[in-house]
Structures are given as C-alpha cells and as structure tokens.
C-alpha cells in the first residue's frame, strides 16, 4: 500500500488514466482553435469539442446545445446566478438559496445584494436538507431564481431535487442546482428532475482541473443569461474565450466514464463507506454522523469525534489525507459554515472529519485509515479534559466555560 492514503475526494479527484489518454493528442497534434472555421486544424478541434458536449449532455439527460463550457464550477455558478439576475431584473430582484451552499454560491449572492437584489437564505434541517415546504413559503411573485445544491460538499447530504424542481416550475421560478459533487456520482436527469440550470466540474469526477460546464435549459422554459465574460461570442454568446480543447475533451471523457460506471461505482463506494462507518462505530464510542443517514453522496462520510479537536486528529493520522470542519484548519478561524447552519454545535463542528472515498480507494486503504484513526482518537481522548469530565459523568453542556479566545 502506498502512503499517504488519499481520502479527500470531495476536495478533488485524481484524473482517471483513461481521461488523460483521451486528452493527450489535443495538446500537441490536434492543437487547433475550435473557433477556426477555415482549416482542418480548427475543424478537428471543433469536432472534439462537440463530441465532448454530447458526452456531458448524455450524463445529464440534456441536449448538446444546452451545455456551456466554463473554467469550472465557480465560474459556472457566477454565470448562472449573475446571468439570471441581470437578465431577469425587470421581472424581479429576489433570489432564494440555502445557508449550506458552497461559498461560490453564497458569495455570488452577497455580491448581488450589494447591487440591490434581495436574497433569502434558508436554513437547512439538522441533516443539511432543504425542505420544499419552507422554500414554497418564501417564494414571491418577484422571485427570479432558487439555487440549491444537489449534494453538499461537506456532509454529502442530497437535497430533494425533484420536489424542489417541481415546486419552482409550478411557481414560475428558475431553479439552479450546483451539482459539482453529485454529477457522475448519483443519477441526474434534468428533465425528470426539473432543473433549469446546473453546473459541474471536471476535477471532482476524475477529469482535469480548470474545466467545467453549465447546463442551461432551452425549452420549457428557455433560460436566457447575460454573459459575464464578453469577447468573441463563443458558446452561443454566453461565455466568450478560446475553448480549452484538451480540458473539454477530458471533461467529456470523464462524463462518459461516469455515466457508464455510475451504478457499479456507487454501489462499491456505498459498501466501503458502510464498512468504514461500522468499524469506526464499533471500535470507538461517542461518534456522531453528520448529514443524512441514507440520502447521501456515495463515498462521503462526515463524522464528529466527541472530546477530540479536528486539527489535532488530522495530525494524528498524518498519512491519511482527509479534511476537517474545525476552525483551526481554515484560514478564517471559523468552524464550517455548513455544520453551523445544521446546528451541529460548535464543539462538534470542531471535532468533525470528512472522509471521501473514491474510484481508486481500496478496502485495504480504508482499513488502514480506520486503524490509524481509532488509535489517534483513543490517544487524544486520554489527554482530553472533556473526555475526563464525561468519564466522571459530568455533562459538558452544564459547565459555564470562560471563553474569549
């Protein structure tokens, strides 16, 4: 087994060698500009881009013309939200989203607030899910867009997308879903799911970094966007800039593989995750699952280990790469906004670890990670004053702590 072990597949994924192989010719031999209409170099590049467009569309149940290539999810999110806000401003200036969204979605909304738009940020439930009934209660005649992620990047919770889609359609509100974590991991059908806009990113699905796509519905209703990057009018005017042909080819291949292998892969990842969770819960007490017990992303496991702080736990399992919701691991010194929105409790937010199992993770690697984790948690609990209090039967919540740090 090769160390360190990578269990952070919600952060990024290694590229599948089959994706790399598909991309390679497009760096050197087939290097044409896809917008060059006057020669074979351009035609070949364009042909590859259009094939990739079809592969992305097939993963989503969309049509080719509904796919706009971008530099990744963050750009696609900016284009979707700002593009709709600008285009539909005369209809209304109210948007709805959730506090558990990725910063790319939250910060884009904050930007719009500064421009005079009004945003309702809904609080998710304890499992990070958004309730369609609560969304229904805040939609207004001037609401132009509702944005809810397909799967949460920290706790893996899946939103009830189909219900949200149906609700938005009935109320005449456009529905955007950030499917960065979900695309290629869970089945997506933009028609049945009633999504009007959706983004995905290459590097979260074993494709390259620096490329992503935005799905923009063309029928029932036809969604219009104001471009956020102006220039040569590429991508039907929605996203100017010379196309990243090798990246797009890689994204297409990644989508194609994900579509073909989705069932088998998600089954395998769920099994590995269950195995990991069962072993951890059996060998350690005081463990809490964050997120939804069943409606979750295959491969994601977010756990809080009572009485142990996340960063010190990461240090204790230094040959296993995972991430933590602890403040100490973030630049802002704030614990995860997602766990806080879920009311997980600040102490348990500090104690959370996200495990992300992926396509190339073996059972032996999972077992190694569990062994090393169990050892570290036990050692840290031995030196934790909170564990000592719990052993003495003291409820930590009843203590008046002096804070200020």
């Amino acid at each position: 087994m090769k160390l360190p072990i990578y269990l952070d597949h919600q952060a990024t994924t290694p590229m599948d060698p089959r994706v790399l192989e598909a991309m390679l010719p497009y760096f050197t031999e087939v290097f044409g500009n896809a917008a060059s209409r006057s020669h074979a170099f351009g035609w070949k590049a364009e042909e590859a881009v259009e094939r990739a467009r079809g592969e992305v569309a097939a993963l989503l149940g969309a049509s080719d013309k509904e796919i706009v290539f971008t530099s990744g999810s963050t750009e696609a999110i900016n284009l979707a939200i700002k593009g709709v806000a600008e285009m539909y401003a005369s209809k209304g200036k109210h948007l709805v989203t959730s506090l558990a969204e990725h910063k790319a979605v939250l910060d884009t909304h904050k930007h719009l607030e500064k421009l005079g738009y009004e945003v309702t940020y809904l609080k998710p439930d304890r499992s990070a899910r958004i309730s369609p009934a609560e969304v229904a209660a805040v939609l207004r005649p001037d609401t132009i867009l509702a944005s809810f992620m397909w799967a949460n990047n920290e706790v893996g919770t899946l939103n009830p997308i189909r219900e949200l889609g149906a609700l938005c359609k009935a109320r005449g509100v456009l529905f955007f879903s950030d499917a960065t974590q979900a695309a290629g991991k869970v089945p997506i059908d933009v028609e049945k799911d009633g999504v009007d806009l959706l983004c995905l990113s290459g590097h979260k699905m074993y494709g390259p970094k620096g490329v992503g796509a935005l799905y923009v519905r063309r029928k029932n209703p036809r969604v219009r966007l104001t471009a956020q990057i102006d220039g040569g009018g590429h991508e039907r005017g929605m996203r100017s800039g010379t196309l990243n042909v090798p990246g797009i080819v890689g994204l297409g291949k990644a989508c194609d593989l994900a579509r073909l292998e989705l069932d088998a892969e998600s089954r395998r990842l769920r099994e590995l995750c269950e195995h990991m969770q069962q072993r951890i819960e059996k060998e350690l007490g005081y463990v809490q699952l964050n997120g939804h017990p069943s409606e979750r992303l295959p491969g994601n496991l977010n756990l809080s280990f009572h009485f142990v702080e996340g960063e010190s736990l990461l240090m204790g399992i230094s040959d296993v790469a995972v991430s933590s919701g602890s403040a100490c691991t973030s630049a802002s010194l704030e614990p995860s906004h997602v766990l806080r929105a879920m009311d997980v409790g600040e102490d348990l937010a500090h104690s959370s670890i996200r495990f992300g199992i992926g396509r190339f993770t073996s059972r032996a690697e999972v077992d190694y990670a569990v062994d090393s984790l169990v050892k570290a948690v036990k050692r840290l609990r031995e030196m934790s004053p909170l564990f000592e209090l719990a052993q003495e039967g003291v409820d930590i919540k009843t203590i008046q702590w002096q804070s200020g740090h």
């Binding site: 702080e309 600040e346 031995e382």
Partner: protein
C-alpha cells in the same frame, strides 16, 4: 499548515499528560477555554512551600494548543510560584515557533498557568482563615 519540529515533538510525545488530585490542598487546578471555541486546557500544579514540584495537563485543542500546554508543564516544574506567574505567552510562541494564527494557543497556556496558581493561592488562603478560625 506546516508545524515546527518542536510542536510535532510535543504533540507526538506530550510531557506530563495526566491529572493530579484536585481536592488536595497542595494542588492548584486551572481550566481555561471553551469547547465551542475549539480549545480547553486543564493545567495542574503541585506545590511544596513556594515551589512547584509537579505539573500535569490535559488539553482538548489543536496540535499547537497541546504543545503549548505540554511545554508549560515542563517549564513549571521546579519554578517558584512567582517565577511561574511571570511566564509570558510570547516565550511559548518563540520556543514553539508558533505562527500568528496560533498565538491564541499560547495565550491560553499563560491563562491556564495563572488560573492554576490562583486556585492554589485561594486554597491556601481558605486554609489559613480556617486555621485562624479554629485557633
């Protein structure tokens, strides 16, 4: 974030982890921090006359918090109460090469030392007044 070798050493081989009997008259206990802030330090000293003869800690917190409290117990042993009370967080920062975002860990350690000394002195005070009363 990269940790200094000294932080890693204290994290991997913490000195003086454990507990002293907090009901003893010669033991002072300081507990500072809060779970929702991500760090709680418990630091204890055992005092003979005016001198600290033993020190123990338990810490819930990041690696730097563990290292700061471990280092503090090392420094406390053999010091008089006044010497111990004059330990500054900046000395801990320097010794462990803590980055700016981890300075609060050293502040917490200094607070824990002061709290343990105060607890011991309070006990001594109470004992003295109890003795005076019974005399």
């Amino acid at each position: 974030m990269a940790y200094s070798d000294k932080v890693l050493d204290h994290y991997n081989h913490p000195r003086n982890v454990g507990a002293l009997d907090k009901s003893r008259e010669d033991v002072g206990t300081g507990v500072v921090g809060a779970p929702e802030c991500g760090d709680v330090m418990k630091l204890q000293i055992q005092v003979d006359g005016d001198r600290i003869v033993d020190a123990k800690f338990k810490t819930f917190g990041c690696g730097s918090a563990i290292a700061s409290s471990s280092l503090a117990t090392e420094w406390l042993k053999g010091k008089t109460l006044d010497e111990a009370g004059s330990i500054k967080n900046t000395e801990i920062v320097q010794e462990l090469s803590l980055p700016p975002v981890k300075i609060h860990c050293s502040v917490l350690a200094e607070d824990a030392i002061k709290a343990a000394i105060a607890d011991f002195r309070k006990k001594q005070e109470e004992q003295r007044s109890a003795t005076t009363r019974s005399a």
